[in-house]
């Protein structure tokens, strides 16, 4: 594909790399975690060399994800501050889902849905890291009451996070021209103007 020199840079290479590290870790964690979540998913442990390997690797991948996520949090925190325009967007998200986005409020680099997802993921990650550490028996042996509580939080939060990421991935598939932003960093001007008008103005100086 020949890229148009007029395409807009949405993500720098370090931002993309950071996102991919987090994304790959997430996929590995979700697959190995689901293996322990319900017997129906236990065969997924074979992807990691069996149940014991899945049990050994899962928390270390978690550490890599946690560190990369912290880096990503500081990269994108400022851009994800909620504004009244975002709340307005969220209140009318039904129109968007219905496939009619022409009358949606003008959005900056991120829309209200993306920002809400960002903060939901921050909460999920915090809960997963804390509950993951307390249940990490290879290193810790905490009181059983704490471990039980941690196990419930970990499983519940993980289920919520898998759901959120499914929505995240689907949104990227549904809105054509989005995924390339995470592959090589650019989007077309048309994409930016349609979905993130305020950001388009900021980048091009045009309306």
């Amino acid at each position: 594909m020949i890229r148009n020199p007029k395409d807009l840079q949405r993500y720098t290479a370090p931002e993309r790399a950071n996102h991919w590290v987090v994304g790959i870790c997430f996929i590995l964690l979700a697959l190995s975690g689901l293996a322990f979540f319900h017997p129906a998913f236990f065969p997924l442990a074979q992807l990691f060399g069996g149940g014991t390997w899945a049990r050994i690797l899962h928390p270390y991948v978690g550490v890599i994800m946690a560190l990369s996520f912290v880096r990503m949090f500081f990269r994108f925190r400022e851009l994800n501050r909620m504004t009244p325009a975002d709340r307005e967007w969220l209140s009318r998200v039904g129109e968007m889902v219905d496939g009619n986005d022409h009358n949606m409020p003008v959005q900056g680099k991120y829309n209200g849905g993306q920002k809400l997802l960002f903060w939901a993921l921050v909460v999920c990650m915090a809960l997963l890291v804390i509950s993951g550490i307390v249940t990490w028996r290879a290193w810790l042996n905490l009181p059983v009451v704490v471990v039980r509580f941690g196990a419930v939080i970990h499983a519940a939060t993980a289920a919520v996070m898998i759901g959120l990421i499914m929505v995240h991935i689907y949104a990227a598939i549904w809105v054509k021209g989005t995924i390339r932003a995470m592959w090589y960093g650019t989007v077309t001007r048309g994409w930016a103007r349609q979905h993130h008008r305020a950001w388009y103005r900021q980048m091009t100086g045009k309306s």
């Binding site: 129906a40 014991t52 054509k176």
Partner: protein
């Protein structure tokens, strides 16, 4: 320790039925705390039969030795000095797996077939299927399973399932010199306990009774206690043990529901795409941009 697969009644992380055409008698071990002299013959017999040797520990100033259950010590005597009605009572309890009818370890275990319950009631770990996650410890209401530092597998009393399978009594029972340890069908053990309790009551232990906690569906290791009203006197034997509500929530109905919810998101996404179509950049907008470029 494998036994005939025909006799497996329940299997960890398995959602379909286990082979159940053959019925076997429910067995039980009865520990009569009131006739135990604390000689530790049962501990020694356990080590010998199962051929496990714990590391030699250090004396901590009390009789408990080893100090706690471990991957190599599947039963330990726990000694409690209690003052009752101005008299010292030395309450000695042989601790180990209680072989619950509703085992919390089995409920919590994520590895298929790592924990089984035989039709005779014995709960056994199949270490070759164990992945070392320690969920059994999280699930156990009695704090019994231990993960080995050597191989990261979980271990506990097997109730000598290998001996019982061939019609023998567990090694600890065979070694007990006072008859404090008895083994037989669960009903026989209950009947025997009944006689002991009558005797104890006649001798002034008005609260003597059988410990067969119903919160875990009853156990296949039961105690005769002089103070059945206060089991916690015996080194914190839980008064009304049950699988923690946390574990029930964690391993119960929440997971199938969450699985359905995730499948729901996946299918809704697919059908949203199929019904509404992709969200593409409008042609009108692209033409506008082209015009701008041209001018």
């Amino acid at each position: 320790m494998a036994l005939q697969s025909l006799d497996i009644a329940r299997r960890s992380a398995t959602t379909t039925d286990s082979p159940s055409v053959r019925q076997t008698t429910e067995v039980a071990k009865l520990i009569d705390v009131t006739t135990c002299i604390g000689c530790k013959a049962c501990q020694a017999a356990c080590m010998e039969w199962n051929d496990i040797r714990d590391e030699v520990g250090s004396n901590s100033g009390i009789y408990d030795n080893p100090r706690d259950l471990s991957a190599e010590s599947w039963t330990v005597m726990r000694y409690a000095e209690v003052e009752e009605a101005g008299k010292l009572e030395w309450l000695i309890r042989k601790d180990g797996c209680m072989h619950c009818a509703e085992p919390g370890c089995l409920k919590a275990c994520p590895a298929p077939g790592a924990i089984v319950q035989y039709a005779n009631g014995i709960v056994d770990f199949h270490e070759e299927n164990c992945i070392g996650c320690g969920y059994c410890i999280t699930g156990c209401p009695f704090n019994v399973p231990r993960i080995s530092k050597k191989d990261n597998k979980a271990y506990k009393c097997t109730l000598c399932s290998d001996r019982v399978a061939v019609g023998q009594e567990p090694a600890c029972i065979k070694a007990c010199p006072t008859g404090a340890l008895q083994f037989g069908s669960k009903q026989q053990m209950k009947d025997y306990a009944e006689e002991r309790i009558v005797d104890l009551k006649e001798r002034g232990f008005k609260d003597a009774g059988l410990y067969d906690p119903q919160g875990v569906g009853g156990t296949h290791v039961m105690y005769v206690l002089h103070h059945a009203d206060r089991p916690q006197l015996y080194n914190n034997l839980p008064e009304n043990p049950s699988i923690s509500p946390m574990v029930a929530l964690w391993k119960g109905v929440a997971k199938p529901l969450a699985t359905l919810a995730l499948a729901g998101i996946a299918f809704s996404s697919l059908f949203h795409y199929v019904i509404k179509g992709p969200n593409e950049v409008s042609k009108e907008l692209e033409d506008e941009l082209e015009e701008e470029d041209a001018s």
